[in-house]
């Protein structure tokens, strides 16, 4: 019998085109493309007279810099407009499928890939965006790449890769009510640190992971990159198949049956070896919030901001000092009750229908605090449409939220949606880096229900106090 294998090893081996010592060429099945990291790659192809090897294996959409206000009269910002037009022109020139900004399927790449059934288990998926790890929720090997690699995939449908190591994160137990996939992800990052996964592919397992919906699994895998691992993986199961069946770009008929049969062989074999493993207990987890400028700076909502004197490591202490100065927080004080100015619900981390439902259930019948500007940006046109069908838009609008057009928006603040200097935001996105949501802006990462609760109370708050 052959040696037991991890799901990562299985996908890796089935995609090896060429191997010579450490020099491996990996076949890439799917390539997602957006406006910001692709123009220089297409330009590179043109300059060296190269073509796209498999245009049908790529799917393009503009999401990073488009405005989330009415776009029917154009983009407004000239540079953004040029970048988006360049994407459309490049797709036309090279025969790549492009979802236009006016198409109702338009949205954040990592939301539309799964929605369209472009994302499938057992595949290799890349995109010039670090949160490509999202697609690992389906049991696909998915990771972000730079622009040179975008060009490499366009030209060759392969990547030169080194095999990563296997890291198993088992999350045992059941989550309490109001503790979500976002909290699980933040707790993993808090436990292993933002560099804890560097050089690894993380496979998530355990009861808490199995019981997550597909949306929740995407949130968990999405944030894997914030733990330093390029890819997160969750073995596919019946939930995965059910989510994908009949999606427009998923296989049909006999092909579907054959695919499912194959997908069932993907989960890691019993006895498979991991280079590193940790176990986390979900049972006693509270909703989490970040206090600093790195996603690992995470505490429970009933916890206190760290004291400098408690930190032994010199470089860590000076990093914390810098963070707390930037965030304007008092060491040792409770995080709960810190007043906020803005709330952002959206992004590829938490911009899916389930996230909006979760936030809406907290907001329903309440009003956004008068000192807060709050907005909801659905992750895609289809998410927006579904939410409107369910009346979620009304719940948000009646409470005083803004209801926007889909895009990345204030996750990275490349468009007009950004924090003003010193503004403090409860955000469902993924990065609380200095300046990420606007120069000198202060970001606290939270789950959708926690963001909704913060909007209502006007401060960082424990959602359980609002819902119980």
């Amino acid at each position: 019998m052959s040696e037991p294998k991890t799901i990562y090893n299985k996908i890796w081996e089935s995609h090896l085109v060429y191997e010579d010592n450490n020099d491996c060429l990996l076949y890439i099945d799917r390539h997602l493309i957006h406006e910001v990291t692709s123009p220089q790659a297409f330009e590179g192809l043109r300059m060296s007279n190269r073509t796209v090897r498999k245009p049908l294996n790529a799917l393009a959409v503009a999401d990073h810099n488009i405005p989330t206000t009415d776009r029917s009269k154009g983009i407004g910002d000239q540079e953004s407009e040029l970048q988006i037009q360049t994407l459309e022109d490049n797709c036309n020139e090279f025969g790549i499928q492009y979802i236009k900004t006016s198409d109702k399927r338009q949205g954040i790449v990592h939301i539309i890939g799964p929605e369209q059934g472009f994302t499938l288990p057992g595949l290799t998926i890349v995109c010039g965006d670090s949160h490509t790890s999202t697609h690992g929720a389906f049991g696909a090997l998915a990771h972000g790449i730079g622009t040179s690699e975008v060009e490499h995939v366009l030209a060759t449908q392969t990547l030169i890769q080194k095999k990563a190591k296997n890291f198993k994160v088992t999350i045992n137990g059941k989550c309490n009510e109001n503790v979500t996939a976002k909290d699980l992800a933040l707790s993993v990052i808090g436990a292993i640190g933002t560099a804890g996964g560097t050089g690894y592919v993380i496979e998530y397992a355990g009861e808490a992971v199995r019981s997550l919906s597909i949306e929740g699994r995407m949130t968990l895998c999405n944030l894997t990159i914030e733990a330093g691992a390029r890819a997160g993986l969750i073995a596919p199961d019946e939930k995965t198949f059910e989510y994908l069946k009949d999606r427009p770009m998923a296989p049909k008929g006999e092909d579907w049956d054959r695919a499912v049969e194959y997908w069932k062989t993907l989960p890691s074999d019993e006895g498979a070896k991991y280079d590193k493993s940790i176990e986390i207990d979900a049972t006693n987890l509270s909703p989490l919030v970040t206090w600093g400028t790195s996603p690992e700076d995470v505490i429970s909502i009933d916890g206190n901001i760290p004291k400098l004197e408690d930190i032994e490591d010199d470089s860590k202490r000076s990093a914390v000092k810098r963070s707390l100065d930037y965030m304007d927080l008092i060491p040792g004080s409770p995080i709960k009750g810190v007043e906020i100015d803005r709330v952002f619900i959206g992004s590829c981390t938490n911009g899916r229908i389930e996230d909006l439902r979760e936030a809406a259930s907290v907001v329903e019948g309440k009003k956004v605090s008068s000192n807060v500007v709050a907005m909801v940006v659905p992750g895609s046109g289809l998410v927006k449409e579904q939410a409107e069908k369910e009346g979620l838009d009304k719940i948000f609008l009646n409470a005083g939220f803004e209801w926007r057009e889909p895009g990345c928006s204030m996750c990275l603040a490349m468009n007009a949606d950004k924090l003003s200097p010193k503004e403090r935001c409860a955000s469902t996105s993924n990065r609380n880096f200095e300046g990420r949501q606007g120069r000198e802006g202060r970001t606290h990462l939270v789950s959708p229900s926690m963001a909704a609760a913060a909007a209502i109370k006007g401060c960082l708050t424990d959602v359980r106090e609002l819902t119980n």
């Binding site: 085109v17 020099d23 060429l25 076949y27 123009p39 220089q40 330009e43 060296s48 190269r50 049908l56 294996n57 990073h64 810099n65 040029l82 970048q83 499928q97 369209q116 472009f118 499938l120 057992g122 595949l123 010039g128 965006d129 670090s130 990771h143 972000g144 790449i145 730079g146 040179s148 690699e149 060009e151 490499h152 030209a155 060759t156 449908q157 392969t158 030169i160 933002t194 560099a195 560097t198 330093g228 770009m249 296989p251 092909d255 579907w256 054959r258 695919a259 194959y262 010199d314 470089s315 202490r317 000076s318 990093a319 990275l412 490349m414 200097p421 880096f433 200095e434 300046g435 120069r439």
Partner: protein
């Protein structure tokens, strides 16, 4: 890509202050290296002036004097020294483009984020992993503006009469030394890709995208 064999230049060290203590700045993310407002470009060049923009310029666009890359002689630094987990965050290749455009060809840190690390080699930048202890041996000389030589062929950092060896993966080294174009070398192996695709198409039809 330009060939990289050896470079000589001064090194700028990114430090954090806590009280009187200085320590290597860790977790320098790609948002810090090149903030998003500069990602709207469709070109690779010209980003050097915006490297570390929000640390380098105040709200009115004036240079912040105390920032290392604004201080003579570090405005001409070719080497950057920093703390662990350098280049974490967004995969934007604008980060190495802006570093290169500024004139920096070598980054020395205890650890790097994966995607950034790869992106460096694709752009002719050498990222060197050294332990924090070893890096601390370099900081003084760097602050004094003493010239460093980074010799990739012999894998040595040379400062005056001091020599510090470093490790680099053979394939990456080869790629930098020869200034190789990855795509060109992969295309030379396209018969393997052809063959792989033939087998896949026959056995795994579902792996082909269904056109919507």
């Amino acid at each position: 890509m330009e060939k990289f064999t050896s470079i000589k230049g001064i090194a700028a060290t990114m430090l954090n202050k806590s009280g009187n203590q200085l320590s290597l700045m860790m977790n320098i993310d790609t948002d810090m290296i090149i903030p998003k407002q500069f990602l709207k470009t469709i070109k690779r060049s010209g980003l050097g002036k915006n490297l570390f923009d929000e640390m380098r310029y105040d709200m009115n666009g004036n240079e912040i004097e105390s920032f290392i890359l604004n201080k003579h002689p570090f405005t001409k630094a070719k080497i950057l020294i920093a703390g662990k987990n350098f280049g974490c965050g967004s995969s934007r290749e604008h980060a190495p483009w802006s570093i290169l455009d500024f004139g920096i060809k070598v980054i020395i840190a205890p650890s790097f984020a994966d995607i950034f690390f790869n992106n460096c080699f694709k752009n002719g930048i050498l990222p060197i992993k050294l332990s924090e202890d070893k890096i601390n041996l370099l900081v003084d000389d760097s602050m004094k503006g003493i010239e460093f030589e980074v010799n990739l062929i012999d894998q040595l950092i040379i400062i005056k009469d001091k020599e510090l060896p470093f490790e680099v993966d053979e394939i990456n080294k080869d790629c930098l030394v020869k200034g190789l174009d990855d795509i060109g070398s992969t295309l030379e192996r396209s018969s393997f890709i052809d063959e792989y695709e033939k087998i896949t198409l026959d056995n795994f039809v579902w792996r082909n995208p269904v056109k919507d």
